[in-house]
Amino acid sequence: MTTDDFKGIKARLGDISRRDFMRYCSIMAGALGLSTGLAPRIAQAIADPKRRPPVIWLHGQECTGCTETLLRPSHPSLDSLILDIISLDYHETLCAGAGQQAEASLAQSMRENAGKYVLIIEGAIPVKDNGIYCKIGGKTFLSLVEEVAAQAGAIIAIGSCAAWGGIPSAHPNPTGATSAPEVLKGKTVVTLPGCPPNPYNLLSTVVHVLSFGKLPKLDSLGRPTFAYGRLIHENCERRPHFDAGRFAEKFGDEGHRLGYCLYKLGCKGPVTHANCPEIQFNDLGGGTWPVGTGHPCFGCAEKGVGFTIPMFTQVEVLSPTPFARQAPIIPERPVPVSPITAALAGGALGLAIGASAVALRKLKDSPDDPDHPVKED
């Protein structure tokens, strides 16, 4: 990306250096599990204002935590980039207008961008009694989702509620809370479970679509594999303690204070797919995620685990052994001395001492030596 290209971005984003912007794009490529060499392509896509996809964001049965987490990242200018990568046409929390005005902008965007806009669903959809338990602008959320999804270019279900039901669907589920993929059967729905989900996973998915014109690779549950391809247990920072058999047995015991594995306290890391240990939360680094703070993972992102299995119940470990044999802490390192080197070193030293010994024999004790006269001063 040339400096000229960048001028447009700077005009839109305000105070950002070209270096910071390219670094941001490289981080994005890294988060997507792509080569950082693709950063220029990502930069190009973000830089092109014509390609900003219109986004319609619907809220159902939820706590708005997903939206909040999206506004949280402290990475410089991330929030402004979110608002600039996409054209957020309708979002009930962030809308400037209210009531009729807001609903009008939804209708207008759907009409103008039919087949092109991205629908992001936050929250579960109550289907019991024809969905009367959640209404917006006089319409049930169920009918709203079906109507907007019908003409959407891509559908993303953000958060555990939209992805698999989440807390509203927990037993006894009085409203018949249902996930977006179940309501929109037959459509491809990208799911980004988590309570809250990591904002970078949404951002990375959108950037992938922008840069490469297609969705990232998804698993059978619609989760992007770059973020949900592995168990938390596999990349957990406390995994070496698990492998070594060092466990916290009780909250506050010595093992807990020393940062040992939290499995015995009911950690759901061994059954939950998410990238929390790798990218963590809020750009603070060093341990800003549940396990990092000393609390076992409760499996918020996994259907049938979060809000289902009690928080401190132990789960079965799916991959009990590490992938490879560990390197020994103090490896065997033989002394690298061979007969040849010993002979060489000994020979050299012997030669020097031998030469000295010969000289010593030739020199006399007395200062008066007829063979070797002393020089006169």
Partner: protein, 383 residues
């Protein structure tokens, strides 16, 4: 000014050819190192990032090359002009010792093609001890060549240039005294950074002072050793009276060194470590026994008059002082994690090649340049 003349004589003697063969073997291994990297030739590893190329060729080697430094110190700084005949041969060994220590550093550093950055001021890291040592040694090599230049100019009969140089020479002589004082102590400072990886038998805040003292002791010892040895080989008159006066200086330096060395270990409470039968304890005992033997030999004035005992004492001091420096860098150093180090055949061959080159160049200069002063015995020139 003394009348100095080349020794003359045939160059290609048996020992000369043997040294030449050693040197060529060293060149072969060095070429392999530059083409295929450190791993192909050396036994250095992540635990021991330096080996004998640093410990022997630089740390011990530059001490052995301190003859020029101590003689300049004695002759010019303390104005003892009676030692002037010894300056040139001492300077010559210093010249080769230091120049080849520089070559050794280039061999030792992983990415040698970046080495030129050391002379670019905008790349200088002024907080690095190693930078200080590198710049100091680099500058000193240059100074040594200038200090030695009159010898070459005399040979070339470049009278005008010689006159000009002689007028400015005092600056370079002053630098030639200042620079080794700086970097010889810094070589000790460097191992302070090793912290607990260095055995407490060697790790002390006195390391810089001890290294400076060993530079002086080894420097004087090497002058004695070399003078007697080359007088013997080339049938020159012995310089015993001058040498025994040098021995007095050694005694004072050595007494100071031994008191600090032993008492420092004792006061810190680590003396029992010297008797636990491990390799480090044995090396500690060996190096100090050698130094003590040198001290006991030289402390009696009668012994200092005997060429044989002078030579024996100098040999003890060279071995003991060299071992002290070698132990500080290799034997006393344990990086943990099971790392071991013993030089590979390639490393030893390169080191031998470097020593051989030094001797070759020294022999060539003795025979072809006006290095030795005083009477030259015409009868002794055949070999």
């Amino acid at each position: 000014m003394e009348n100095k003349q080349p020794l003359g004589g045939r160059l290609l003697t048996g020992p000369f050819v043997f040294l030449l063969a050693l040197f060529l073997a060293g060149v072969y291994v060095a070429a392999r190192r530059f083409l295929f990297g450190l791993g192909a030739v050396t036994n250095m590893n992540d635990g021991y990032p330096w080996g004998i190329w640093i410990a022997l060729d630089v740390v011990v080697g530059t001490a052995f090359a301190c003859g020029g430094y101590v003689m300049a110190l004695l002759t010019y700084a303390f104005n003892k002009m009676e030692y002037h005949p010894l300056v040139r041969p001492a300077l010559l060994t210093s010249l080769f010792g230091y120049s080849l220590a520089g070559v050794s550093v280039i061999l030792d550093i992983g990415r040698y093609w970046h080495a030129y950055n050391i002379i670019l001021p905008w790349h200088s890291n002024l907080h690095s001890v190693m930078f200080e040592v590198a710049v100091c040694i680099g500058a000193y090599v240059l100074v040594l060549w200038i200090e030695f230049a009159p010898t070459v100019l005399e040979k070339l009969k470049a009278e005008r240039l010689l006159k000009k140089l002689n007028r400015l020479l005092f600056i370079f002589i002053a630098l030639g005294i200042l620079l080794p004082t700086m970097h010889q102590s810094s070589l000790g400072t460097m191992m302070l950074m090793a912290g607990y990886k260095l055995s407490p038998l060697w790790r002390t805040a006195f390391l810089p002072l001890l290294f400076l003292l060993t530079a002086l002791i080894i420097g004087f010892a090497v002058v004695i050793y070399e003078s007697l040895f080359s007088s013997l080989v080339y049938d020159q008159p012995l310089e015993t009276p001058g040498l025994s006066k040098l021995a007095v200086v050694i005694v004072w330096c050595l007494m100071l060194f031994m008191v600090i060395r032993i008492e420092d270990v004792n006061l810190r409470g680590y003396l029992p470590l010297a008797f636990n039968g491990s390799l480090t304890s044995d090396m500690f005992l060996l190096e100090n026994t050698l130094l003590l033997a040198g001290l006991l030999l030289l402390v009696y004035p009668a012994n200092r008059k005997s060429p044989r005992l002078l030579f024996l004492a100098a040999t003890c001091l060279l071995l003991g002082g060299g071992l002290y420096r070698f132990d500080t860098y290799v034997t006393g150093f344990d990086p943990g994690n099971g790392w071991h180090y013993f030089p590979s055949a390639g490393e030893i061959i390169v080191t031998l090649g470097i020593v051989a080159l030094e001797l070759l160049a020294y022999i060539w200069c003795l025979k072809r340049l006006p290095v030795f002063g005083g009477r030259v015995l015409a009868a002794g020139l055949q070999d």
